[in-house]
């Protein structure tokens, strides 16, 4: 008796599942374009902004064209190239019309990207490229250029000499290393500037706070900081008393990558002087437009599409804050240095 019951329940469940899958397949037909938008990881909030941009663009396209555009937001929970490859294979098996992906590794994803292209699914990369794959374009900034821009910002505020410390996330992460390389080259022209130490926080907020404070102890006369990511800035005020005191005094200037609201607050309070940010919103908003144009209008794209960078200083920070508050990143940002 029990056994029969169990088998019945099991079969019902199987039939139900198959039904759901089939129904999903049927409804996804005709005039509908489904794009998979795959970030590096689901645990990083900046990708959510890109996702929101992707959904907004899908909504716009659905309203203004004959197509219904749908977005599948899918990815590995943590940054992991192998796991991400699996996600791409799932998406191929599921059959989408296009894929936009931020690659965890420039080489590890070549194979699955090419597989998708062979299956007739166009792929473009954003934020983080796989240049040797068959993707039709890459939308992003050069992290190297971002590093150079950060160096220019720091020199502008700090002057042409001083001791500088660097905070990075996971040593060896390609985008972070590129930013650091750009920064080093950017300050190389100024012999008075010395990078006294590089500390790593392994993408962990608590560790970030800890190593920044320890660096402040080890180098109390520091003139500048370059945060290659925003990790310790997620922590609340009072977490880094030594750093805050030095930054507030104005004797030490801090530039950082990214332009998230927490950082904008720090900037309003005078603790950060310059921010270099990617256009997270555009990662989704622009990617979906490009996929749509490529498929519907056969648009051609260069190998690399520059998404541009947001440079935020005290002169244009208010505009950036407004963009965040209204979730509208479509307006161009005022120049970071009005006198230029």
């Amino acid at each position: 008796m029990h056994k029969t019951l169990r088998i019945t329940v099991f079969l019902t469940a199987v039939v139900f599942l198959l039904g759901v899958l089939l129904a999903g397949g049927v409804f996804a037909q005709e005039q509908t374009l489904t794009f998979a938008w795959i970030p590096k990881a689901l645990d990083n909030p900046v990708f959510e902004l890109g996702r929101d941009g992707a959904f907004v663009k899908a909504q716009e396209l659905t309203e203004t064209t004959d197509y219904t555009v749908e977005i599948i937001y899918i990815g590995s929970v943590a940054s992991d190239a192998a796991e991400q490859s699996r996600v791409v294979e799932d998406v191929i098996a599921r059959g989408v019309d296009g894929i936009g992906i931020s690659c965890n590794d420039p080489d590890a994803l070549i194979d699955v990207i090419n597989k998708a292209v062979e299956a007739g699914i166009p792929v473009m990369t954003w934020d983080s490229d796989a240049p040797d794959s068959e993707r039709f374009t890459y939308l992003g900034v050069s992290n190297y250029d971002g590093g150079v821009a950060a160096a220019e910002l720091l020199v502008r505020f700090m002057g042409e000499e001083g001791d500088v410390a660097l905070l990075t996330g996971v040593p060896g992460a390609f985008n972070l290393e590129e930013r650091i390389r750009g920064f080093r080259d950017g300050v190389a022209d100024y012999p008075g500037i010395e990078i006294v130490t590089t500390v790593a926080c392994y993408d962990d907020i608590a560790t970030g706070v800890q190593v920044v404070e320890e660096t402040m102890l080890a180098y109390p006369d520091l003139d500048g900081w370059f945060f290659v990511g925003l990790w310790p800035l997620f922590a609340d005020r009072g977490s880094m008393p030594l750093w805050e005191e030095a930054a507030a005094s104005g004797d030490m200037k801090v530039v950082a990558f990214d332009t998230l609201p927490v950082q904008l607050e720090y900037m309003k309070d005078g603790l950060l002087v310059g921010l270099v940010g990617q256009k997270y919103w555009g990662w989704g908003y622009d990617t979906i437009q490009m996929l749509f144009d490529y498929i519907v209008h056969d648009a051609a794209f260069p190998d690399w599409t520059d998404s541009g960078m947001d440079i935020v200083t005290m002169y244009n920070v208010d505009a950036m804050i407004e963009a965040w508050e209204t979730s509208d990143f479509t307006k161009p940002l005022p120049p970071p240095f009005p006198e230029d």
């Binding site: 645990d43 790593a200 997620f234």
Partner: protein, 335 residues
């Protein structure tokens, strides 16, 4: 056959109750560990200007307090013969639950109670899986680690929870005055829990049974000890103490991130193991875990203060873990 001769303490008086001071010292694990710690402190005090400043010492104390508290719980579990891989996730989760309630306007004690309550329940669930369904602790807590981390991401949608009230943050950022020093609150809480766990393990019947279950589970059950109950309590306490650590970390940073404490379980386990708590169970004590956590944190601190390249730091930390455990094994063998 030998002649029928009764045997008595007088027969071989040299063997009874006599041990050299040196043997006793070598056998005392804590002494060895304390020496390693002291050596590190001396070397660092001589080689840097900044190590032996009150600011730095309290900075270190604050930073390792939550790892240490979680590793007290881990110690109980390891001594009982288990392992708790969900500790890092639990730390993040208690912080997130507490922070989310605080942001909703719930008062501080209630929010903390909820955060701790939930990790206590998670620990209890671990215990049930291990004692009732006989899952290996490694598997049960590995699964739980992932489940809890998933809840962290899911409930926050990946965003850190910020904007916590000052009255909560004070818990992690206030210093209390002791004579001339201002000691961080988390460090004081850490010492309180160390004493409590010490009393539990060393002075209570439950503590004796915890060692017995970890040392030889079969023998413990033959002696009438309810081994399932002991394991259950051990995992529940581990969940609870990880929760305490997580709340202090959240209060210190003023933010509860879903990614927080990722990979901390390994630091927490390493602290216990460096502290002489054998992974095979039945051995070690909470002071070892405390010193183990201190050694790890001072090492990290030292690498930054000395300007050791960030890229090489993991190698140095790994070498110290292996070295400390090897010294301990050598010590055990040589006596």
């Amino acid at each position: 056959m030998e002649p029928d001769k009764p045997f008595s303490p007088e027969e071989d008086p040299a063997r009874f109750q006599k041990e050299g001071a040196l043997t006793r010292f070598a056998r005392n694990q804590l002494a060895t560990l304390a020496l390693i710690l002291l050596a590190m402190v001396v070397v660092l005090s001589l080689s840097t200007r900044t190590f032996l400043t009150a600011t730095n010492i309290f900075n270190v104390l604050r930073a390792f307090s939550w790892i240490a508290i979680a590793s007290f719980g881990q110690s109980i579990v390891i001594i009982s013969g288990g392992i708790d891989l969900s500790a890092g996730s639990n730390m993040a989760f208690s912080g997130i639950i507490t922070a989310m309630l605080l942001v909703e306007g719930v008062n501080v004690p209630l929010s903390i109670g909820a955060g701790l309550g939930i990790t206590l329940l998670i620990g209890f669930a671990n215990g049930l899986m291990i004692s009732k369904t006989k899952l290996p602790p490694f598997i049960a807590t590995l699964g739980m680690m992932s489940i809890v981390r998933g809840f962290c991401y899911g409930m926050t949608q990946g965003w850190p929870v910020r904007g916590l009230p000052r009255s909560f943050i004070a818990l992690g950022q206030t210093d209390l005055s002791f004579f001339i020093w201002r000691v961080p609150v988390p460090a004081i809480i850490m010492v309180c829990f160390a004493v409590l766990v010490y009393i539990l393990l060393d002075k209570t019947k439950l503590g004796y049974h915890t060692y017995a279950v970890g040392g030889n589970e079969y023998a413990a059950s033959l002696a009438g000890i309810f081994t399932g109950k002991v394991k259950n309590i051990a995992f529940t306490l581990s969940g609870f103490l990880a929760g305490v650590g997580g709340i202090l970390m959240t209060a210190r940073l003023g933010v509860a991130a879903p990614t927080a404490a990722s990979g901390y379980e390994l630091d927490i386990i390493a602290a216990a193991v460096i502290g002489g708590i054998s992974l095979t169970g039945g051995e070690g004590n909470v002071w070892g875990a405390l010193i183990g956590a201190a050694i790890m944190q001072i090492l990290r601190n030292a690498l930054v203060l000395l300007g050791f390249p960030a890229y090489w730091q993991p190698a140095a930390i790994g070498a110290v873990i292996i070295g400390a455990v090897m010294i301990d094994m050598y010590r055990k063998k040589s006596i």
